[in-house]
């Protein structure tokens, strides 16, 4: 479904992503792991259109999306969450999700400005859908709460809810379980499974190995912007290079 071909992204003299070849199959949950700075978030940023690649291409459903900008990519059916709590802080939870439906409007612009009955009906319909999405996530009771007031765990899931609202075919989840306790993590795991069951393909960047092993059908390991391993969870677990990549960090942490 998504394919990166020799994808390269340089920042100044540093290659954050270096000749990366990667493929995601429809309906799977692909895990993307690697030490900090391995290029995972940069990969997301390039695929979702926030940075153009320096070299190489990204194909989505067979079409080249490398040069598309972020909003166009959203229309193509790729959505993402962000690492930091990127939400509309001053808006309510419901309004946050509601904004996600923005691109789905069908009424003509002029009619929307004039507030014709058909425009208002469509708007009402999307408000309903936003509510349903919140129910799907188990957050319906929080709908009036300001996004800024939410506890961290719910802020992350709100980010996922907004991405879902755009009706994506491919969902890029950037560390959805960070900062969560065990209960929350299990809830997120369950949530991601339900999202996959809806037919959405998922790429998951995550540091928590338990989450990754539980959820992912396949795992790709990055280090220094390059793919160093790829395979099923059990294979990756016992892959020496992968362990070294992570352990290497441990060593230097102990030495310091």
């Amino acid at each position: 479904m998504l394919e990166a071909i020799k994808l390269t992204k340089y920042f100044g003299g540093l290659a954050a992503v270096n000749e990366l070849n990667l493929r995601v199959n429809q309906g799977e949950i692909l895990g993307l792991i690697g030490p900090n700075g391995a290029g995972k978030t940069t990969f997301f940023n390039v695929v979702s259109g926030f940075f153009p690649p320096t070299n190489g291409r990204v194909l989505f459903e067979g079409k080249d999306i490398s040069q598309l900008k972020a909003h166009d990519i959203a229309y193509r059916g790729i959505s993402r969450t962000f690492q930091a709590s990127t939400l509309f802080m001053k808006l309510s939870v419901l309004d946050n999700v509601f904004t996600g439906y923005h691109k789905s409007y069908r009424t003509r612009f002029l009619k929307r400005v004039l507030h014709t009955p058909s425009a208002r009906k469509e708007e009402e319909g999307f408000r309903q859908k936003a509510l349903e999405t919140l129910e799907f996530m188990g957050m319906a009771s929080l709908k009036e709460e300001l996004a800024a007031n939410l506890p961290h765990g719910y802020q992350r899931t709100l980010g996922i809810a907004m991405a879902l609202a755009t009706n994506p075919k491919l969902l890029l989840l950037d560390e959805p379980a960070t900062g969560m306790n065990l209960t929350e993590k299990n809830a997120v795991i369950d949530l991601i499974r339900r999202i996959r069951d809806m037919g959405i393909t998922i790429i998951l960047v995550e540091h928590d190995m338990k989450v990754v092993m539980d959820l992912c059908d396949r795992i790709i390991v990055l280090n220094f912007g390059q793919k160093i391993a790829e395979g099923l969870p059990e294979e990756i677990k016992s892959n020496r290079e992968v362990v070294e990549a992570y352990l290497g960090k441990e060593e230097s942490k102990n030495a310091a």
Partner: protein, 333 residues
């Protein structure tokens, strides 16, 4: 006015309350010149109206991340366009008013396509430069009257009012101009409110809160920002054309960065979180307080400059931002 009511009317009672308040305010505003007879104060009120609308357009753009330091230039373009249309082409004023707004919109569209793409930093500097250049152009070329400006711009033709007679626009009474200004301002407020409460307004709000996030949800930043820019400039142009036919004289210097900075102050004094009410408050205070404090023309920019600095340090949300303090206390947590 009856046709417009339906846009404001909504199921929730808060909307009905707001509507009733609006009607009351409009009635008060309409009766104001009957109470305040002094023509100088009526002139001040007219300027308050113009400045308030200009500040509203400034906020419209600012909320989408565009700090347009050339807003006075578009005000000027509308003024000069209308003056030239009515004087050189002999158009009736009632035609040149909307025509000037359209011309301003077209110019804004061309300029906007170039400038909006630049992103925040480049946009700010280039609108600043644009503001300077326009004044330079108006002041240099004789077609626009050079640095002397345009004098003797015709007043609007009289409007026949059924059963009452006709409303004459002469140099004698300021009242008809006041009512014209009131009508135009309210019309602009309606247009702005319509846009703000539509999906465009929601997109603008999203862009203002987090442009990154809005973009990832499919909102085209450039399109919506350009839209805000064109609407804002067109409205500024319309107010400019009214100003031309009201004031009768145009001097290029009055459309420069000083004016833009003043408009900026009206906007932030009220509070940029209140796109309609804020400018009204800001404009009112900045027009009348120097009056009552007897601040002379020479000192006024000093006063304005100090105010800007104080605002930005102490009251970043403007005066109306203070209402959040009292609101937060009364809400059960």
């Amino acid at each position: 006015m009856v046709k417009h009511n339906r846009y404001l009317f909504n199921r929730t009672s808060m909307r009905i309350h707001k509507f009733i308040y609006a009607i009351i305010v409009i009635i008060i505003l309409a009766l104001l010149p009957q109470v305040v007879r002094n023509p100088y104060y009526i002139h001040l009120l007219i300027m308050v109206g113009i400045n308030a609308v200009l500040a509203m357009t400034f906020i419209l753009m600012l909320r989408t991340g565009l700090m347009c330091l050339g807003i006075a230039a578009f005000w000027g373009i509308g003024a000069y366009a209308s003056a030239m249309l009515s004087m050189k082409l002999g158009l009736p004023v009632w035609l040149s008013l909307p025509a000037a707004a359209v011309i301003t919109a077209i110019i804004a569209a061309f300029i906007g396509v170039l400038l909006v793409k630049q992103g925040g930093f480049g946009f700010i500097i280039q609108t600043l430069a644009f503001g300077f250049i326009i004044v330079l152009i108006f002041g240099t070329f004789q077609v626009f009257g050079g640095h002397v400006g345009i004098v003797g711009i015709s007043h609007p033709e009289s409007i026949p009012i059924p059963f009452v007679g006709s409303m004459e626009f002469t140099s004698i009474s300021k009242m008809p101009f006041y009512y014209l200004m009131l009508f135009l301002s309210l019309l602009m407020v309606l247009v702005l409110t319509a846009f703000y409460s539509s999906t465009a307004g929601r997109a603008w709000r999203a862009i203002g809160l987090s442009a990154h996030l809005a973009e990832s949800l499919g909102i085209n930043l450039f399109n919506y920002r350009l839209l805000a820019f064109i609407i804002a400039s067109a409205i500024a142009g319309l107010m400019g054309s009214f100003f031309a036919h009201y004031y009768g004289t145009l001097v290029p210097g009055s459309f420069g960065p000083f004016k833009t900075i003043n408009v900026h102050v009206y906007a932030i004094l009220g509070g940029i979180n209140f796109p309609i009410l804020g400018p009204v408050i800001g404009s009112l205070i900045m027009t009348f307080v120097p009056e009552f404090l007897r601040i002379t023309e020479g000192v006024e920019p000093i006063f304005t400059g100090i105010l800007m600095i104080l605002l930005v340090l102490c009251l970043p949300d403007g005066l109306l931002g203070l209402t959040h303090l009292w609101q937060r206390r009364s809400k059960p947590s």
